[in-house]
């Protein structure tokens, strides 16, 4: 039988919750397992509730799962916050002894393994910070986690701190295991999948995938201002891009960050910025300039809870409206949204290519959960990666150059500083084909239509939608971003149960792939659109184009945590004809 195990670690930020999870992740992929992580940081720098979750399987994994099989509770807060999920059949390893700040109740059917992790770390190892290792050691012993690979990943992380630190951590691991051997009896049958042949994978975090995708796409300039949860895109890119001849520029604010991106792109570079809602808000004016002057830009919005400063570390899909409609005036652009870490990488590459081809700003909408999710993805094959470059005139230097020539496609050949015979002045003013400012009605009409015409056939030129499930279904699910990966698991579960369910997974949200959505809607009796925002922003955007009002069921969470598959599954079952 397939093994599908989810282990959650909860505790106070700074207690090693996140790093314990990372070691498990490393070890599991070293052992050739499939893995997906889910993490949640507190808003505080130190303290606050942190969560790290690992789902391992010998099969392909779609989402973070519905809950957990095993909880490792480092403190009372972790226990309290997860108590409701401790259902019969789940397991809890928890801190006990002299350092513990809580004492759990007994819950019928829940298997409890008390481990004095704090006490062992403090008294026996004289190093309270090894508490997470003691816990790991206990878990390893209980669930057959390959200790060698665990040690290997610990060694890699701590080796630069010296052998003493590595050994101390090994000891803590062993102490945890020993405590289990001496004091506890395994009362359930959970265990990690068996180690198997190592696959040729990369272990990548969401934001890291954007950074790597950008590098692979030929990005040579990244201008940004730090903001949670986007900063790490730049962290990952800073040295990588230098080795590729590019640069990460930390600007004085987001306006400047995007301004430098516009300048660098105008000068010919492929550019990226990553930010979150507040940063996008500040960039709004210059995004409009990119649209008016037709300058390629890739803008990653790692969404967090809004409005305003909101919840910087929490999951939310509330910035879709802004991406599509935030700029003043009639302002065409492209909006993409990846569903998982692998898509983060490949859609980033697509974003660069679309930006170059259509000479336009392209949004990439990720979010705080996807930013931190770690997956083991297949090693990319660079020979299969395509690179688009903006069309330049390459004409004779003595031919008149019309930068904004109203071509049939709406895309006009451009020039790059340094190219002879291509000099032109870009402007945010309405302009004539030669780029000179002009406000007469005919020019205005010509240019407005040209700017929009570029995108007339984008849905056909680039198939931005996937579909799965029954050709004619009772319920069809449309979702976007991280929610897709969760909806997918729900849909597959229901189909396994024999329900006639289908799903549509648009990767491009704007311009809306209307044809594909129309066709999908026609093929199902009800449409469920689950989204992690209050308004149901994508549902509304679809409704404006496709009259699904009667078929539509919205499902929204806005609590700062992603959907779990079961919520979508249950909603579909609820609306499914009985």
């Amino acid at each position: 039988m397939a093994i599908d195990l989810t282990l959650r670690i909860g505790g106070e930020g700074g207690e090693g919750v996140i790093s314990a999870g990372d070691f498990l992740m490393q070890a599991a992929s070293l052992a050739g397992m499939e893995v997906v992580t889910f993490k949640s940081f507190p808003a505080e720098i130190k303290g606050g509730y942190a969560l790290s979750q690992l789902r391992v399987s010998d099969q392909h994994i779609l989402s973070q799962g519905d809950g957990f099989n095993i909880l490792i509770a480092f403190n009372g807060e972790a226990y309290e916050l997860n108590k409701s999920l401790l259902t019969p059949g789940t397991v809890m390893i928890y801190d006990t002894g002299s350092e513990a700040d809580f004492e759990p109740e007994e819950i019928p059917g829940v298997i409890m393994y008390p481990v004095p992790m704090g006490e062992i770390a403090k008294r026996q190892l004289k190093a309270y910070i090894t508490k997470n290792m003691v816990a790991l050691g206990a878990a390893a012993e209980l669930f057959n986690i390959p200790v060698d690979t665990l040690k290997e990943s610990i060694r890699q992380k701590f080796t630069r701190k010296g052998d003493k630190v590595v050994q101390l951590n090994y000891q803590a691991l062993e102490a945890g295991a020993e405590h289990v051997r001496n004091n506890l009896k395994k009362q359930e049958s959970f265990e990690f999948p068996k180690p198997r042949e190592k696959k040729d994978v990369l272990i990548i975090e969401g934001n890291q995938a954007i950074a790597l995708g950008a590098a692979m796409a030929g990005c040579k300039y990244y201008g940004a201002y730090p903001i949670t949860p986007a900063t790490t895109v730049g962290n990952y890119l800073a040295e990588l891009i230098l080795g590729l001849g590019g640069f990460v520029y930390q600007a004085e604010d987001e306006i400047s960050a995007l301004g430098t991106c516009l300048g660098a792109s105008f000068a010919g570079a492929k550019v990226l910025t990553a930010t979150s809602g507040p940063g996008i808000s500040l960039m709004t004016e210059l995004i409009g300039l990119g649209i008016m002057a037709e300058i390629p830009l890739v803008i990653a919005n790692i969404q967090r809870g809004g409005p305003s400063t909101g919840m910087p570390t929490k999951h939310d899909q509330g910035d879709l409206y802004q991406a599509c409609f935030g700029t003043h005036g009639d302002a065409p652009k492209i909006v993409l949204a990846p569903a998982n870490v692998e898509e983060n990488l490949y859609l980033t590459i697509d974003a660069f290519n679309l930006a170059e081809k259509y000479q336009t700003p392209v949004f990439l909408l990720s979010d705080a959960s996807l930013a931190l999710r770690v997956e083991a993805i297949k090693r990319p094959d660079m020979s299969k990666v395509k690179h688009e470059h903006r069309m330049t005139r390459n004409g004779k230097a003595d031919e008149k150059f019309l930068r904004y020539m109203s071509t049939e496609s709406g895309i006009s050949p451009t020039g790059i500083p340094g190219m002879p015979g291509h000099a032109y002045a870009a402007t945010g003013l309405e302009h004539a084909e030669n780029s000179g400012p002009r406000t007469n009605p005919d020019t205005r009409n010509l240019m407005t239509e040209k700017r929009w015409r570029k995108f007339d056939n984008i849905e056909d030129e680039w198939k931005p939608v996937e579909r799965e499930g029954d050709e004619q279904a009772e319920v069809g699910v449309i979702s976007w971003g991280l929610t897709q990966s969760i909806a997918k698991e729900a849909v597959q579960r229901l189909r396994a149960k024999g329900l006639k369910v289908a799903a549509l997974y648009p990767k491009m949200l704007w311009p809306l792939p209307v044809k594909a959505i129309k066709a999908f809607v026609d093929s199902v009796n009800q449409v469920l659109i689950p989204e992690a925002n209050f308004q149901g922003q994508f549902a509304e955007i679809i409704k404006a184009e496709v009259p699904i009002h009667d078929k539509l069921v919205k499902l929204n969470v806005y609590r700062g945590e992603p959907f779990i598959p079961r919520e979508i599954e249950e909603k579909i079952e609820e609306i499914y004809p009985k």
Binding site: L258, G259, T260, A269, L289, P417, G418, G436
Partner: protein, 305 residues
């Protein structure tokens, strides 16, 4: 686009787009000076990028047959920085107004200056906002009237020269567009300087500003370099000099002289040099920057044993 003759004459640096400035606008002098300088230095117009924000003054790049970017209000410096980092070979002029630079763009200035980008900033200072029809700007004198402060502003002006020195600009000068000779000399010295160069150009707006006119400036102007200021890298001295640059704004000292000339000039590595050095130290990280060994990159993310 017409082929250029060698040597390239000043007027060949002008584009086909016609100026919309009022007759008598001080900014014409800046355009003329700039085309003169480019011609004198025989700059390849295709290697020049002229960047501006929004304002009367910021229209300047449109009149030039160089690459140009008439960006958004206050954002010329960030755009220039990005372009310069992406292509350090470009000759970058930033041609903007006092409002564009010191009001809405004020937050970018210290950071551009302290990083010493090799960019020439020519600020056409007409002591007010012209394009939006007469409001006070950060360089307006106390009590100046504007449409939003018809009673005379309560604000006191900033001192552009002093600020730029404090910010770390490596070349700081002032000129007056009524003197084409001096304007050209200052802009040329800035262009020849390696590093972040700033020239404040007192550039009257005959349409809206009836105080700081050519007539006002002419008798007040004096050339500090001619009158003895030679120790250009002495920062404290430059600050002292600049401290007096706005004396003519004081009601008590209304016939105070107005200094023009180079206040400050120093040598410091430019950003591009530091960056080039940094890049060099990373250049063989993946074989080569141009044709990297991608598997070497991917290996960094692979679980290792």
């Amino acid at each position: 686009m017409e082929l250029l003759q060698t040597p390239i004459k000043p007027k060949e640096y002008r584009s086909e787009i016609e100026s919309t400035w009022c007759p008598g606008c001080g900014d014409f002098g800046v355009t003329t000076a700039l085309t003169n300088i480019m011609s004198q230095m025989q700059m390849d117009p295709d290697s020049v990028l002229t960047i501006s924000g929004i304002g009367c003054s910021s229209r300047l790049p449109l009149w030039l047959r160089t690459f140009g970017f008439h960006s958004c209000h206050g954002r010329a410096l960030p755009v220039a920085i990005g372009a310069k980092i992406a292509n350090p070979d470009l000759n970058i002029f930033v041609t903007i107004g006092d409002g564009d630079m010191f009001s809405i763009g004020a937050g970018h200035v210290p950071h551009a200056a302290r990083r010493n980008f090799d960019i020439k900033v020519f600020c056409m200072d007409n002591n007010m906002y012209a394009l939006t029809k007469n409001q006070v700007s950060p360089t307006s004198r106390h009590k100046k009237k504007g449409s939003l402060s018809p009673y005379g502003t309560l604000d006191s002006p900033i001192n552009p020269i002093e600020l730029m020195i404090t910010y770390g600009a490596t070349f700081v000068a002032q000129s007056y567009t009524g003197s084409m000779k001096h304007t050209t000399a200052m802009m040329k010295a800035a262009t020849e300087h390696k590093g972040f160069a700033f020239v404040n150009l007192l550039s009257p707006c005959p349409t809206f500003n009836h105080e700081e006119t050519f007539k006002y400036y002419k008798p007040r102007i004096y050339d500090i370099n001619e009158e003895g200021h030679k120790d250009l890298s002495n920062r404290m001295k430059a600050l002292e000099l600049s401290d007096r640059a706005m004396d003519h704004y004081q009601e008590s000292g209304s016939d105070a002289k107005i200094p023009i000339g180079i206040f400050y000039k120093t040598e410091k590595p430019v950003f591009a040099e530091n960056l080039a050095e940094l890049k060099k130290s990373y250049s063989s990280a993946y074989g080569s920057a141009d044709k990297p060994d991608w598997n070497k990159i991917f290996d960094q993310y692979a679980p290792q044993q």
